[in-house]
Subunit: 608 residues, 2 copies
């Protein structure tokens, strides 16, 4: 992908490998790695081919077939694959690494043993915090890992605009063009969530898509209107050629019929494959334009369930032929992004990203991962220690709030002195990104709104943390579940990632918020006596700690939430979306309460 990095997992261009491959063909050079005698999962032909061996020279596959004996020299690493399957390394067709809470390096440490050797990553979150430098940082770190990491430039930074929220950066067509010029591993424009803007020709969205198409790159989508709406055609006509927002088989079928790639998602909280895969298993559509993706998987999901190995297995369990399910996470994915020359199959000339599997193929039991021609993981463990990445100061000091918060920071002045006031409340919904807007009469004392643990409601507050406005806003949330004085504070607060605090006690809220500010980013769950933290030092989004540590801390946060009465599935993920103002119905940003209606966004008052 790039010839500029200087590390042991660099992926030189095929053109640069030809002299070495020719020397091998002439017999002047032996293979560096040989895998002997397994059953090849041939994704190009859709077959399982027994007694197949693979010879690798450097980073690339030089030979696939039965005759490897003469290719083995004294220095050749030989792997016996008898009784095993040989398959291409798995690719994630759409993923936000930030959602794992892991750095790119630790994400690699987490997923490589699971058989993932590459992916198409949209660093949408860090881009909203750190802008192009943040995106570049992710690219530089990714290039240092064994992963075939292709990055996208986020299309919606910020998700709305500075009238409705304050992000750390703004992207337009120029930023898109610049980012896409960084190398062939800058592959696409990230999911274009502003689909109304695309359909109706918003100049910024059209400009970003034009910049992408002119650079010869891919435009990825995110479309949630009904799939039988003619505007899906308009969205596809604008050059958006893939979308991961299908939730029914009809959604997936509509996309494929319109020439898009339907990305079938199984995230931590969004379980769409079961329904969407029926476009193939029940409706019989050709599977070549179906791609399995994770979108958002928190590190504990990676640990407890798996990554693409889990999703491929899950697809097979829905009735997909195993080799077809592998195509959906290898060849289809590579073809969708135009990089099948390099990844997505075990064929000559591609980069040697290969996995070995034990037992039944349908179990997707990965026992060895080879990336870039090197064995990097075996039996679920990394066998290679990855170099650690050095982050610049600005990336680990991104929470720009100078003074401590106090209980007074969370006071809400009411329009009356004492009594009850009709208040606009955002009720969270388990397993759903949307909220419900309800109106509740809440008590006021001495001119201040009163929220107590007994009320069942929480305050929700957002403090701008990018050093731009210093603004803040407070609203009220329902259905959070806290049954004692408690609060959660976090710098993961989609998509502008300001400091979000949700709690039912001003002092506990201040304590949690200050903990997060002191850590320079992260998550803190506080009660009167306890405090559980997960530091996310990198842009306030990702940990700089090892994979196993972050998994443990993430599990601790979940437990602390449960202990405080918040028992929602993936509660942290759902709560972090309470600041995602582009989603119906009522959310909060640093500029106030934002409501999404048929006519667009509007800022609305807390008291009616």
């Amino acid at each position: 992908m790039t010839t500029t990095t200087n590390n042991s997992f660099a992926r030189p261009h095929l053109a640069d490998c030809l002299p070495e491959l020719a020397a091998f063909a002439r017999g002047e050079q032996k293979a560096t790695l040989v895998i002997k005698g397994g059953t090849l999962v041939s994704v190009t032909s859709g077959e399982l081919l027994p007694n197949t061996s693979v010879a690798v020279v450097g980073t690339r596959i030089a030979y696939v077939g039965p005759f490897v004996q003469d290719m083995v020299g004294d220095e050749t690493k030989v792997i016996d694959a008898t009784g095993k399957y040989i398959a291409p390394g798995l690719l994630d067709g759409h993923c936000h690494i930030e959602s794992s809470l892991l750095s790119v390096t630790e994400f690699a440490n987490g997923v490589l043993p699971l058989g993932t050797t590459g992916g198409f990553f949209d660093p949408h979150e860090i881009s909203n915090v750190l802008g192009l430098p943040g995106l570049r940082l992710m690219l530089d770190e990714a290039r240092q890992t064994p992963l075939a990491a292709y990055l996208q430039v986020a299309s919606c930074v910020p998700a709305t605009n500075s009238e409705f929220e304050t992000s750390g950066a703004e992207f337009g067509p120029e930023e898109v063009a610049e980012a896409l010029s960084w190398g062939p591993d800058m592959i696409a424009l990230g999911e274009v969530m502003n689909f109304p803007g695309v359909v109706f020709g918003d100049p910024k969205m059209i400009g970003e898509i034009q910049a992408t198409l002119r650079a010869g790159k891919i435009v990825d989508g995110h479309y949630t209107w009904p799939s039988d709406d003619p505007r899906l055609s308009a969205y596809a006509a604008a050059g958006v050629s893939g979308c991961h927002e299908s939730i029914t088989k009809e959604d997936a079928a509509a996309r494929v019929r319109l020439g898009m790639y339907a990305k079938l998602r199984r995230g931590s909280a969004w379980h769409d494959v079961e329904a969407t895969i029926k476009a193939h298993t029940e409706m019989g559509l050709d599977s070549r334009r179906m791609v399995l993706v994770s979108d958002d998987r928190i590190c504990s999901s990676l640990k407890e369930e798996g990554h693409m190995n889990f999703i491929v297995r899950h697809a097979i369990q829905q009735g997909v032929k195993p080799v077809t399910a592998f195509q959906m996470a290898t060849l289809n994915t590579a073809e969708r992004f135009g990089v099948a020359r390099d990844v997505g199959s075990v064929t000559p000339g591609t980069i040697a990203d290969i996995i070995l599997l034990d037992g039944h193929l349908a179990d997707v039991n990965v026992s060895m991962t080879i990336a870039c021609g090197q064995v990097v993981a075996e039996n679920g463990q990394m066998t290679t220690k990855l170099e650690s990445f050095q982050y610049p100061d600005y990336a680990v000091n991104s929470v720009k709030i100078e003074s401590k918060l106090t209980p007074a920071s969370f006071e809400v002045k009411a329009p009356i002195d004492n009594g009850f006031v009709k208040t606009r409340v955002a009720e969270v919904i388990e397993n759903n990104v949307e909220t419900k807007e309800v109106f509740v009469d809440l008590p006021v004392k001495d001119g201040n709104l009163v929220i107590t643990p007994e009320s069942g409601y929480c305050k929700m507050a957002v403090f701008e943390r990018h050093g731009r406005t210093g603004g803040s806003a407070i609203g009220v949330a329902g259905n959070v579940g806290f049954d004692r004085p408690a609060a959660i504070a976090m710098t993961v607060a989609h998509d502008s990632h300001n400091v979000l605090v949700i709690g039912n006690d001003d002092a506990v809220m201040a304590k949690a918020a200050n903990a997060v500010i002191d850590m320079q980013g992260g998550i803190a769950v506080a009660t009167a006596d306890d405090m559980t933290t997960l530091p996310l030092r990198l842009a306030g989004l990702m940990s700089t700690e090892p994979y196993e540590t972050v998994v443990r801390q993430s599990q601790d946060i979940s437990q602390a939430l449960v202990d405080a009465g918040c028992t929602m599935n993936y509660a942290f993920m759902t709560l972090s979306l309470i600041a995602l103002v582009v989603i119906p119905t009522l959310h909060i940003s640093d500029t106030g309460l934002i409501r999404v209606s048929e006519t667009g966004f509007e800022r609305v008052p807390l008291f009616v």
Copy 2:
């Protein structure tokens, strides 16, 4: 494909179409063309979708679905597709237009009514005669037609080198890089026939492939060693990702398993689909990497059998599911060359290259052709008159032989004065590009070799015609079939296309040769009293006359050959290959007799 041409069939980049498409989505603009209510051959989903309509805005498809009524305005052309199939225009995945004997414009006139709307053309022949200017000429002419014409830069110009033959030009890595910089419609490096050079690292071939890969383009192949030879892996590893030389199902399967596209060929004389398609119909391989191609079809074959419509029908008759056969001539082809964003499916955003079909889909009965959003043919006839192309002088005056040939030009001095001399003879084989080398005792009189009509042998002579050496050579051919004094002369003489003359009477040979020289290129079949000619003014390879005229003239040439006793199938094509010195066993160039052995090429004497 290009925004620089200024004609009515220009194909603007999708990015440039977005404002217009958005205006349509907003309802501010009506469709320019609407196709109502047919059954869509959906190649992306592998389905037939009834009651589907298509709306076109300018050159691009804006909508596919059931709701077109509101998209029709006063200016909209509406086509009723009730009872018809709507399919993507057919693509030829590998084709030498020169083999049709037609100019690009007349090729378009010939194939558009048959449903072909685009192709991947390798102007290998004109490149050998006119070099880069010839290739550029083909590109410029192609851009003026309604075809989605993607051109390749030939990899083997000349097929050998100046030691063995004199071509009109020589290409190396620099010429390849230059040609590929001309635009996105310069798509690939043409069939790399020098596969030994690729496998073993010949610097020129490696350099050409590197230039192509670095330009982000495709490398096309031509590999004829056995497909179970490990060197096919080496060829694939070098980045050659497609090949049309499969002649058995195992050949096709081997290519697909190694990640190549297997191009299944049905040319005028090479009938490979029947055998190679069994890789899908009998062996069960996934068809996504199988592509139907014509390679070489003479204009009379286009007229009598058809083009891609014939080949798709033929594939269906071998047992391929109709929608799968359509994929093999549309989507698979477009994906193979990375242009599925623009062609190969009827989906929003692609260019409106669409065909309508009547009756049974399996009959591939094309009744209308739409290219670039315009109806160009109906019921087998062009409905649009294509602009004629103006050729520069050098392109129509390429036969640089100053003085008339005489019977003496064909005299062969023998090493004896009178008697018999052991002579090396190239026997042509019907339906085969190879020749057989045999040794025959032939009479000598007064120091000259004597060939008479009664002998059953012919002289074969090549006169350099590119104005470079003025050289010539004479040999002896067997099995031509002439049963009276007769000769054929032609400037189509693969691959250097010097003047080739085959005959059994020196005077008749001179007459035929002079006719070709006088015409500035073409084919002449002469007997003592008769002369039949087919002028090929453009580089000595293609006619500048209309399609129907060239078909008639080509049929006349075939008939003249039959009348003179030469009854081989496609005799003219087989004879024109007698100068193709890269093919086993014995062929002739302007430098002499060239023999292909296990160790390579060698020049060999006529008399042993």
